[in-house]
């Protein structure tokens, strides 16, 4: 598989952003997902949620030092948009668990074809584990969107028949955006490829994926 055919992180973020409906309330997680915010059109009034009790955030204006008491889940300082609100953490998690968020966008180590998500621990006993708000988000958000690299740095698949790392949630993922493809998780069918990088063959995509793939009738290619 040629590296030239991989989609850039920014391109993936752009694709995710384009699929978020105007007026949605969305939580954006650590890592690759943070790029998505950059590609949301402010005119669409997509309201970003931060688990520490904020609805309506955006990046700081360059030169603004920000405030210690206004940070996001990555602990980066941010600013409020017009219409923003602040509540306590317990109410914030009620929003997450209670099905009030339209979508959550988060990273992952592994996703299985039944929608299992592994994102909080590996099998490395030396590594400190951390769950944070991820288990609550996937338990409650109406749509669970995963953004991840299709394979690991050393070439091993991350889209599997069964996750080998501890689960964050069972049968929770709706769609996966990778640097090779967009894959819907369809109950009973597994990974259904909705779109794939231009120039990539089905054979190459399957080689990079441990779980069996099927293809959407309206499969399209991404430039």
């Amino acid at each position: 598989m040629s590296h030239a055919k991989k989609l850039s992180r920014d391109r993936v973020a752009q694709l995710v952003a384009a699929d978020i409906a105007p007026g949605s309330y969305v939580n954006i997680g650590l890592g690759m997902p943070t790029l998505v915010a950059k590609y949301l059109d402010p005119a669409n009034e997509i309201v970003l949620h931060s688990e520490n009790g904020i609805l309506g955030i955006e990046d700081l204006t360059p030169g603004d030092p920000g405030d210690e008491d206004l940070i996001n889940a990555s602990k980066a300082r941010l600013q409020l948009i017009r219409g923003a609100s602040i509540c306590d953490q317990s109410m914030s998690f009620a929003m997450m668990r209670g099905g009030h968020l339209n979508a959550t966008i988060l990273g992952a180590f592994q996703v299985s074809c039944s929608g299992d998500l592994a994102s909080w621990a590996t099998n490395d006993r030396e590594a400190v584990p951390g769950i944070g708000g991820a288990m609550d988000l996937v338990a409650g958000a109406r749509k669970v969107i995963v953004v991840m690299e299709h394979i690991t740095r050393d070439g091993r698949p991350r889209l599997l028949s069964t996750c080998t790392f501890p689960l964050t949630g069972k049968e929770v993922v709706d769609v996966v955006y990778t640097d090779l493809a967009i894959l819907d998780v369809v109950p009973g069918r597994g990974f259904v490829v909705r779109a794939m990088a231009e120039g990539l063959t089905r054979e190459a995509l399957q080689d990079a994926t441990q779980a069996p793939l099927s293809y959407h009738e309206q499969l399209y290619f991404i430039q």
Binding site: S50, E51, N52, G53, I54, D67, E68, D69, L70, I71, K75, I86, C87, D88, Q89, S90, F93, M96, R97, D116, E126, A127, V128, P129, G130, I131, G132, G133, A134, M135, D136, A139, G140, P166, L167, T168, G169, K170, E171
Partner: protein, 223 residues
């Protein structure tokens, strides 16, 4: 006359005994009662169980308490933040016990304790290692895990304004864990920027009513 004002930070934390369980507000550095934590290091109470979202970063705040060897166990959701070097070293040397709890479950366990509830069911963690050994059920087609209330002997809380009755307001997203921890602890100790005369905080602006607070101290009142 009700007067919950402590004359110094050290006086405020003087009631914390060896072996106590202590909730600590904060999401990273936001909402962290740094001055109270430093007073607790000076006070010397040890063999503590700390309940907080994170496990301290850098060399101040929670990390200072950990570095002083005062913490036997920490109950938190996300101990692996960047800069969490003190915790990471203790964890690898097996000198601290870690109980990892999903953040929303941590919050709801505290809320249940403060609100007089018993065990409750949450969808968070169903089908993951977090659910192992706990009662589970399927309700209306969705899986749930039983969790128990979590109370503590003390809560160290960062708030914004207080009066001598212990009524509290919070600033921006520093509100975070404050309201729920104040309810879940037997003795809540709040540090604030200013203590205002009774009656000056508008009743409908008070976030935590003084009934949940035992001691207040101005963060600038010195050790």
């Amino acid at each position: 006359m009700i007067n919950k004002i402590s004359s110094s930070l050290r006086d405020a934390v003087s009631v914390v005994h060896d072996g106590a369980s202590v909730m600590v507000t904060g999401f990273g550095d936001s909402g962290l009662p740094r001055e109270l934590l430093h007073a607790l290091v000076e006070h010397g109470a040890t063999d503590l169980t700390i309940i907080s979202n994170n496990a301290g970063t850098g060399a101040t705040g929670l990390a200072a308490l950990l570095a002083a060897g005062r913490v036997r166990k920490i109950i938190c959701s996300y101990p692996k933040s960047s800069g969490a070097d003190v915790f990471t070293a203790l964890y690898r040397q097996q000198q601290i016990e870690l109980e990892l709890v999903p953040q929303g479950t941590l919050l709801e366990r505290m809320r249940a304790a403060g609100a007089g509830l018993g065990p409750f069911y949450t969808p968070t963690g169903y089908g993951t290692p977090i659910a192992q050994g706990k009662p589970q059920c399927v309700y209306q087609g969705k899986g749930y895990v039983q969790e128990e209330p979590l109370r503590a002997d003390f809560a160290l809380v960062k708030a914004y304004h207080a009066d001598r009755w212990g009524n509290l307001t919070y600033r921006l997203a520093a509100r975070g864990f404050g309201p729920v921890m104040c309810m879940a602890a037997t003795c809540t100790i709040a540090q604030v920027d200013d203590i205002l005369p009774l009656g000056l905080i508008p009743p409908d602006s008070i976030v935590t009513p003084g009934i949940f607070v035992s001691r207040v101290v101005c963060k600038d009142s010195g050790l």
